[in-house]
Symmetry: C2
Subunit: 403 residues, 2 copies
Amino acid sequence: MSNSSFKQEEHKLLVIPGPIEVSDDVLLANAHPSMSHVSPAFAPVFGDCIRMTREVVFTKDAQPFLIAGSGTLGWDLVAANLVEQGEDVLVLNSGYFGDSFADCLEAYGAQVTQIGAPVGGAPTKEEITKSLRSKKFKLLTFTHVDTSTGVLSDAKMIAETVKEVSPDTLVVLDGVCSVASEEIQMDAWGIDVVIGASQKGLGVPPGLSVSLASQKALEVFKSRKTRVSAYYASWAKWLPVMKSYETPPATYFATPPVQLIYAFHASLSAITKASPSLPERFAAHKAASKKIKDTLEEWGLGFIPLSRDASANGMTAAKFPAGLKAPDLLPKLLAKGVVMAAGLHKEVKDMYFRIGHMGITVTDPTRGDVDTILKALKESLTEAGLEPPPSMAEAVLELKVVL
Amino acid sequence: MSNSSFKQEEHKLLVIPGPIEVSDDVLLANAHPSMSHVSPAFAPVFGDCIRMTREVVFTKDAQPFLIAGSGTLGWDLVAANLVEQGEDVLVLNSGYFGDSFADCLEAYGAQVTQIGAPVGGAPTKEEITKSLRSKKFKLLTFTHVDTSTGVLSDAKMIAETVKEVSPDTLVVLDGVCSVASEEIQMDAWGIDVVIGASQKGLGVPPGLSVSLASQKALEVFKSRKTRVSAYYASWAKWLPVMKSYETPPATYFATPPVQLIYAFHASLSAITKASPSLPERFAAHKAASKKIKDTLEEWGLGFIPLSRDASANGMTAAKFPAGLKAPDLLPKLLAKGVVMAAGLHKEVKDMYFRIGHMGITVTDPTRGDVDTILKALKESLTEAGLEPPPSMAEAVLELKVVL
């Protein structure tokens, strides 16, 4: 056989908010033969990944860190490298992942102030301004898309507010569930750190922590008064390695996940060099999100995010119709070959389910994933006793027939 | 095509001391379609990996931790979870990786005492005994096989010495370059922590930190007086997750590297359930190591380890013949399709090269890797101006012809 004809095994359609469906090309790259992690053959592949990572979040000079680990490791990178014992940090909390980021920061000795919000909401500009005026914060963190609630925070507004009120405060964007599915203008908006992971919008298997630090963040790091109190998460260890992969020969700190870097290279090449373009990619996510959310709304389902404007474009957190719970719906979807996720936010866990619509599921229309999602949902809701009204498309069709 | 016929791309033979050659089965598993990390389909695969990991190091009840990360992350796990600020730790140093482990322990606030050794050596029983008597150490660490020197430390002797002199001291074995290529009797010898990684003897792509903690180590962890000063590396976060994968439903802390877990499952199944058996596997590593080292010795090459008894069975650190350096040999090997590694230990870096002979390279004789290694080496040495004497095998053959 030729591997160019590699097709992944038949499987259920995975439409949870990460991991997401991965293309055959990317999976084949993940089966790359073993290579030396410092070889002249591999180093430029890693170097390309670093350069393309910058393109995805529109930065010219931020420093990417590509490290074997889960998205969670990105929090440790921020906490270990940018916070010293007892320093004040402001966490904007829009769900489960805000709680966790705060927990991580505290583990490293930060004094954390949180601004909460009702479930489905996010802190407002007024609240952020007021907090920033109350004391000097070393950094502010927010979850761009909180995977537990599907709330999309207004990254541009947050960064602008910090620049207005407390320009020395670093702005940290947790983009694990937003990088490559939502627009992030790192330089133009003034974001100092972006934290991401491979298995969501970036369209790669899980296992790679993908983060970037602005030159300003690196300056703050370099002016630390105390030693970084971690080792694997220390930028001091990784910085020379990342620079060496961009300008080989490669140096060594810890063995990178070689195959996953090949897979990341395949996906980044598709994202930054092929069709759709990055702006088209964001538009495709918005269009798919609108279609799914409009249809669900038409069927009478509500959402966890309190407003459509503050809803993610790569996922949907939808409330079950009255009387239904996860066991009434998710197994029916599974039987139709579609995997969605249950709720995660502890206060409303049993009230909702989550659909992921990122990456090839929305950028490759030949797959028909969005239609598959809606068809399976409609059938499952019907089986569960709900009678969804005809979809808009069907309504139009019926109208035409009548006319 | 059927994926059952998957063959990895043609490539140069990778015989560095990790990453190592990976089988087609394992690479195909690494191209598994995306799966939910908490699904009933995936959880038992993770659970099996946990159980099989125990088998590889002969433990009944130690707790495996399978976490996205490099081998280096294992040091953080030990330092973050088992050491509190200012506690004394004894590091047995047999090369580069001893220096690094000490550096990691200090990052987390340990007071590190090191016992060094001449390059190629390891601390003796007398030196260890003396140090253990000098003060109370929370734990002792040693590098089972130091990848920089190829020195094999006597794990059983070290553990016995600790039990005799300071039985409360935890024994930490860095097995990144020894797990599955050297025998480790975790329970019988009394090892409290084994640190490993996927890309060496375990025969899987890099990106998975594989470690185990004895029940005694977990008790010490649970009796900490202070909070763990890390987040991603915190056993407090991972312990319930690992237990949940063994007894589903699976719970969540950070997304595991799903495809790599499938790959690990494929390799562990071969290691623990197929032929060769584990004892045969260790014997195969010893036999291949002996063949390679005997041949090199016959050609007049020396080794970095000061004694053959204290040499790893999964790798060889051989000195260049007088007058030769890495640029005289490694490119010639590369041109013949064989990738070996340069020196790493800073004091002798330019004096030697390293050959990895772990995993399928030694357990699958149909590949002929060991012969390929020796043939390429002999030809390259000859091209470099050295005239290796006929190998033992050839000498026997010539003798037979004469008779």
